[in-house]
Amino acid sequence: MYQYSNFDHEFVAERVAQFRAQVARRLDGSLSEEEFKPLRLMNGLYLQLHAYMLRVAIPYGTLNSRQMDQLAMIAERWDKGYGHFTTRQNIQFNWSKLEDVPDILQALADVEMHAIQTSGNTIRNVTADHFAGAAADEIADPRPIAELIRQWSTDHPEFQFLPRKFKIAVTGSPHDRAVTQAHDIGLRMTEQNGDRGFEVIVGGGLGRTPMIGKTLSPFVPLGDLLPYLEAVVSTYNLLGRRDNKYKARIKITTHEHGIDEIKQRVDAQFANIKPMFSGADLQLLKDIERHFEPPKLKPANAPTGVAQTVAQTPAFRAWLDTNISDHKVPGYAIVSVSLKKPGATPGDASAAQMRALAQIARNFGHDSLRISHEQNVILPYVHLADLPQVYQALRQTDLATANIGLISDIIACPGMDYCALATARSIPVAQQIATRFEALKLEHDIGPLKLKISGCINACGHHHVGHIGILGLEKAGVESYQITLGGDTGAAAEIGTRAGPGFGADEIVPAIERLILGYLHLRTDETESFLAAYRRLGLAPFKALLYPKEKKAA
């Protein structure tokens, strides 16, 4: 993985020193809150419902064991013994004290991490396919490009005060696991006449106005990518609306001006700035690529122990069925570690669990860890023969839940349990749904299902693109939950359709149960997923399941 250069070390160290001085000036009264707030936000520090929250970037979701250990140390020393992994491949510490934050940032800098540009109207943490570098279906590892974009966008003088925040996602695979169509810019690696490049998608986003991104260019050669991105962001920087924050994202700019006009402007800007890119960016990319050489993998031995363990441990077999994905290297597997044990808070890991994951990665995973936007942890390089030991080690720390891609593998934002913007809670709804379906013992029978919960219209929980989406709102002074159906994150992403009126906090779990039990009767057979059945049948029969009284009245 990428190792900081001297420049990176000095830059991050300088930012830590600056913030240390800023905190001191805030505490001694030299800075007002009005003056301090933009400074703390530039360093990822929010004031939430109960405490300060520090959002730390995990660039393109990649961590090594040392970094994971350091996150565990931070969680224990300065927080309440856990961290929350988010849908943007960040980690959030929910209980930071203001005067501790400079020390936390220093501890992060010690392991080449930071919280820079995890807030504010800047280019945020660049996210990537969590299987990058290991996926059997990818063209190439997209992370060198993601790192190039990180370096280009960090402290970019032109892009520190964009009209609104700006999110970029990158995938090297045609099977889109990075939800690129729901980002301000989505990059999909592709090839044309033997040359590598990217399809550039623009104007996707969720929030109060969900939109699927549109293709701005079907193929931008690798050599043109950075000036092309600069052309896109600088076009948006001039054109984007600053009069209304709710209309300031590039999705609205694209919608209002049309993709053709945006394309014309971007092409003109690209022609202007391309000559200024002397090739230093491509030289830098070559240097970066050296950091992403795949690990030296063991020879592919026959995984004899696996069959034996499968025979002896049915739970291991269930875990293999759901939590293992195909690797590009024969003899290896990608392991998804679920942070969604029924009843647990989606995305939370205790310090002990983080340390266990770090040790498992050291022992069996070539020191590599990933955080997925689905709030799970990935071990991207595990030899098949080591799977039984990995499973046992995960079990010892309560991390062997076999539910990846199933109904209890729920994305949930922090909601009103933590977030100052939330209009309702998300976490208890996720906990109750997961616990209920565990009790029903139906999860594996239901099959693939993406359920996503947001605690407000900003949609951090990606509810619009869940097969089942739940949006928590306030209605008449109480929490109310709207259901959307038919969303999807795949290669052709879709925004779900609102099913009808919201449900009260005590009604939402029974409503989901009716929906799922009804689906089991509606599907053609067990091979037809919830999403496939919805696409075949449309909204009406599912709406009837959710609102049975209305059906009778009709």
Binding site: L47, K97, T345
Partner: protein, 98 residues
């Protein structure tokens, strides 16, 4: 002197810890809503808020919050304020650790 239709408390977050706190007359802050001073007069509410906002080196984001007065002290009238006064529902953290 006008009377507010609903009782209020002054609430904010502690500058150093970020913890939710409430104004207790005359010049104290308490982490417990039950010990907050309940204000029923509009003039006093505005004066108390102005006092809180003047404590910029102690608190952040002071505002008036509606409460219902019960025998054992004020209770938040909106669920968001109830969560602020009690802490998160997934762990016994924050005020639940007191």
């Amino acid at each position: 002197m006008s009377v507010t239709p609903i009782s209020k408390v002054v609430t904010a977050n502690d500058l150093r810890s970020g913890e939710v706190i409430y104004l207790r007359f005359p010049h104290c802050w308490t982490p417990e809503l039950s010990k907050a001073s309940v204000i029923t007069e509009d003039d006093l509410a505005q004066a108390s808020l102005a006092f809180a906002q003047g404590q910029a080196n102690v608190v952040v984001g002071a505002y008036l919050s509606d409460v219902i007065t019960e025998a054992d002290g004020p209770k938040a009238s909106h669920f968001r304020e109830t969560f602020r006064s009690t802490g998160p529902s997934n762990y016994h953290h924050g005020k639940q650790e007191i």
